[in-house]
C-alpha cells in the first residue's frame, strides 16, 4: 500500500475527475501545441528566407534565347564568321585523351570521361548511336561535374541532325552582330522574314529580362523578409494569447475546483493543515494537470506542428501569388522555397514546453490555491 503524501493526494484528486481533467488537458494541450509549433514555424520561415537569399545569390543567369520551330535557311545580311564562332565555341576544351573535334569531322565524336568509363570505350573505339557508327577521337573531363556529371558526347551538327531525323533543323541559333548598333535592325529583319517560325531575343532583351528577374528576386527577398518580420510579430501575439489562454484555463478550472471542494478545505484545516499545506496541495494539482497537458501538447505539437504553423502564421511562400518573370525559373524557385517550410519542433523546444506547462500551471493555480488557503475553516465546514 502506498504511503500518503501531498503528491499522492494531488494525483488522486486529479484522477477522480477524469472527464473534466481530460477536457482541460486537451484544451491546455492545444494551447501548448501552439506554443511548440509557432517557434518551429518561425525557425522554418527563417531557414526558408535564408534559402531564398542564398538561391538569389547563387542563381544562374537564365538562358533566354530564340528558337526555330522548322528548318532555318540562309538569312540575308548575316555572315558566318568562323573565327568569331571559335571564340564562343561550346565544345569542351579539357581533353584528357585523344584529340579535339574539328568542323567537318563527320563520323567522329568527343565523349565525356564518365560515359567512356560507363561503356568501357576509349580513343579509337567505335560506338553505335541510332544505327550509325562513330569513332571516338577524344575523351574530355566534364567541367566541374566530376564523375557524377552529365554523360554526353559531342559530334558534328550534321551527323546529329541525321541520326535524330532532324536534317536541316535547329533548336537554337546564336547570332552575333559585328556592330552592336545593327542588332535591333537585324533582329527586325529576321523576325519579319520568319514571323511564324522565329522568336528573336536580342542581348538587350536578355539583359532586360535578367534585370527584371533580379529585380523580382530582390522584391521577393524583401517580401520574404517582410513576411518573416510579420510572421514573428504574429507569432509573438499568438504565443502571448496561448500563454494567456493556458493560464486562464488553469485559473478557472482551479477556481471551480476550489469552490467545489470548499468543505474539504474546511476539513483539512480543521484537522490541522496549515494555509501553506492547503495552498501547496492545490498548486501541485494545477501543476500536475498542466504537466499532463504538456505531454499532450508535445504529442499534438510533434504531429501537428506543420499544420498549426501553416494555419496560424502568415504564408512564407513569396510565390503564392503569380509573379512576373521567367515562368520556368520562378516556378522552380517558388516550389523549392515552399517545400522547405516544414515546421519541426526541436527537442529543446519540447523540453521547454514542459517547463512552460509547469510554470503556467503554477501561475494559473496560484490565486485559486491562495484563495483556498485563506478560506475560514468554520465557513468552509458549513459549505454544502
Amino acid at each position: 500500500m502506498e504511503h500518503l503524501g501531498v503528491l499522492t493526494r494531488a494525483l488522486r484528486n486529479v484522477s477522480r475527475r477524469k472527464i473534466r481533467v481530460l477536457l482541460v488537458v486537451i484544451a491546455l494541450g492545444f494551447s501548448l501545441a501552439i506554443m511548440i509549433s509557432i517557434p518551429a514555424g518561425i525557425v522554418a520561415n527563417q531557414e526558408a528566407t535564408q534559402n531564398l537569399s542564398e538561391n538569389y545569390e547563387t542563381m544562374d543567369t537564365p538562358r533566354g534565347s530564340f528558337t526555330i520551330s522548322r528548318p532555318l535557311y540562309e538569312i540575308t545580311g548575316v555572315c558566318l564568321n568562323s573565327s568569331f564562332i571559335d571564340s564562343y565555341s561550346i565544345l569542351p576544351t579539357n581533353i584528357t585523351a585523344g584529340a579535339p573535334l574539328y568542323e567537318g569531322d563527320s563520323g567522329r565524336l568527343l565523349m565525356s570521361s564518365n560515359l567512356s568509363d560507363y561503356f568501357g570505350v576509349g580513343v579509337g573505339d567505335k560506338v553505335e548511336i541510332y544505327g550509325e557508327y562513330f569513332s571516338v577521337v577524344g575523351i574530355y573531363e566534364p567541367a566541374g561535374q566530376g564523375s557524377s556529371g552529365t554523360r554526353e558526347v559531342y559530334m558534328n551538327i550534321s551527323d546529329a541532325q541525321i541520326i535524330t531525323g532532324n536534317a536541316g533543323n535547329f533548336s537554337r541559333l546564336d547570332i552575333y552582330a559585328e556592330d552592336v548598333s545593327n542588332v535591333d535592325g537585324i533582329a527586325e529583319v529576321i523576325e519579319a522574314a520568319y514571323s511564324d517560325e522565329l522568336y528573336v531575343t536580342t542581348y538587350e532583351d536578355r539583359l532586360e529580362s535578367l534585370n527584371n528577374m533580379q529585380e523580382m528576386c530582390q522584391t521577393t527577398l524583401e517580401n520574404a523578409e517582410s513576411t518573416l518580420g510579420q510572421t514573428q510579430a504574429t507569432a509573438f501575439q499568438e504565443i502571448v494569447i496561448a500563454i494567456g489562454a493556458t493560464s486562464l484555463i488553469v485559473l478557472f478550472t482551479m477556481l471551480y475546483t476550489v469552490r467545489e471542494r470548499t468543505k474539504e478545505i474546511g476539513i483539512l484545516k480543521a484537522i490541522g493543515f496549515s494555509n501553506l499545506n492547503v495552498m501547496s496541495q492545490f498548486m501541485i494539482e494545477g501543476i500536475l494537470m498542466s504537466l499532463m497537458a504538456g505531454a499532450v501538447g508535445i504529442v499534438i505539437g510533434i504531429v501537428g506542428a506543420p499544420m498549426i504553423s501553416m494555419l496560424l502564421l502568415p504564408s512564407v511562400n513569396p510565390f503564392s501569388t503569380p509573379q512576373r518573370g521567367f515562368p520556368g525559373q520562378t516556378e522552380n524557385f517558388g516550389t523549392t522555397l515552399s517545400q522547405s517550410v516544414t515546421a519541426t519542433p526541436d527537442p529543446q523546444t519540447l523540453l521547454l514546453a514542459f517547463g512552460v506547462a509547469a510554470l503556467l500551471g503554477a501561475l494559473g493555480s496560484l490565486y485559486p490555491a491562495w484563495r483556498a488557503s485563506r478560506t475560514s475553516p468554520m465557513e468552509a465546514l458549513r459549505y454544502e
Binding site: 500518503l4 490541522g272 493543515f273 499545506n277 475553516p377
Partner: protein
C-alpha cells in the same frame, strides 16, 4: 489546577446580521479536566456548535479567553492556530467528513501528515487506532464502501491520530440509526474510560448526552448553572443505564440485568 486542560473565561461571541447583533455566546465559563467526558445539550441555535468552534480553535470569540493547555488560544495568530488544531484538538463531525478519495487508513493518517512521525510510524499508529475502532479488516476501504457507523469510527480514529489533548464531537450520532448511535457513544465512553481521552460532545439527544460523565446545558448562548452527572462514572466504574447498578467499565453486557452496554 494541574489537570485542567481547557478553560473558557467569560466567552462572548457576537455575530452581525446586517445591522442586527446576534449574541451567539454570552459569558461562557467552562472548565474541562483531563479525562472528562462532557456532553453539551441545547436546542438548535443555542450556540453549541459556536462554542465547539471556539474550543476547537476554528473561530475566535468576540470577548473572553479560551485557555488550552495553559495557552490562551484567542491570542494566537491565525497561522499558528493550525498547530493547536493538529496536535491539541481532535474533531469529530456529524457528517463524518472523511476524504472520499482516501481509504480508511489513509484518512486516519491524514492529520499526521507533516508531523515528525515517519511514514512507517504513521501507518502503525493508524493501524492501532483502526484496531481499537474494530476496523482492522476495513483499512483499505474507501468511505463510500463503509457503513455510516464505520465511517464515524474512522472519523474518530482520525481525530485521535495525533493523540490530542481533547476530542470535540459535534453531534457525532446525528446521522446514525439508533443501534449505530449507541455503538458510537459506547465507543466514546470506552475511549474516555480505557484511554483517558478527554471528550466534549455536543448533542441534541438526551439519551446520548446522558452517557457522558457531565452534562451541560446551553440556552441562548448561556451555559446554565445546572449541571448533571451522566450515567457513566469515571475510571473503571459505570452505572448500568438499565438497572442503575454499578458495573465494571470493561463489561459489554450488564452482569445484573444483561443489558448491552
Amino acid at each position: 489546577m494541574s489537570n485542567l486542560v481547557l478553560k473558557t473565561e467569560k466567552l462572548h461571541k457576537v455575530y452581525k446580521l446586517g445591522t442586527r447583533k446576534v449574541h451567539a455566546l454570552s459569558e461562557v465559563d467552562l472548565q474541562v479536566r483531563k479525562g472528562d467526558f462532557i456532553s453539551i445539550m441545547g436546542p438548535s441555535g443555542s450556540g453549541k456548535t459556536t462554542l465547539l468552534n471556539m474550543l476547537g480553535c476554528l473561530d475566535k470569540p468576540t470577548q473572553g479567553k479560551v485557555i488550552l493547555d495553559d495557552v490562551d488560544v484567542t491570542k494566537v495568530h491565525e497561522k499558528d492556530l493550525c498547530k493547536f488544531r493538529k496536535y491539541k484538538i481532535g474533531f469529530v463531525f456529524q457528517t463524518f467528513n472523511l476524504m472520499p478519495y482516501l481509504n480508511a487508513i489513509e484518512n486516519v493518517e491524514l492529520p499526521m501528515e507533516g508531523t515528525e512521525k515517519s511514514k512507517d510510524k504513521r501507518r502503525k499508529r493508524a493501524q492501532e487506532l483502526l484496531e481499537i475502532m474494530g476496523l482492522s479488516k476495513r483499512e483499505d476501504h474507501r468511505p463510500q464502501r463503509l457503513s455510516a457507523g464505520e465511517q464515524q469510527r474512522v472519523a474518530i480514529a482520525r481525530a485521535l491520530a495525533n493523540n490530542p489533548t481533547i476530542l470535540l464531537a459535534d453531534e457525532p450520532t446525528g446521522n446514525l440509526d439508533v443501534q449505530t448511535m449507541y455503538e458510537i457513544v459506547r465507543l466514546l465512553s470506552k475511549l474516555n474510560i480505557n484511554h483517558g481521552t478527554t471528550i466534549i460532545m455536543v448533542t441534541h439527544d438526551s439519551q446520548v448526552a446522558s452517557r457522558a460523565g457531565r452534562m451541560l446545558f446551553l440556552n441562548d448562548g448561556r451555559l446554565l448553572k445546572r449541571e448533571r452527572k451522566g450515567m457513566h462514572l469515571m475510571k473503571g466504574e459505570l452505572t448500568c443505564p438499565g438497572c442503575r447498578k454499578k458495573i465494571q467499565s470493561n463489561h459489554k453486557f450488564c452482569p445484573h440485568c444483561g443489558k448491552e452496554l
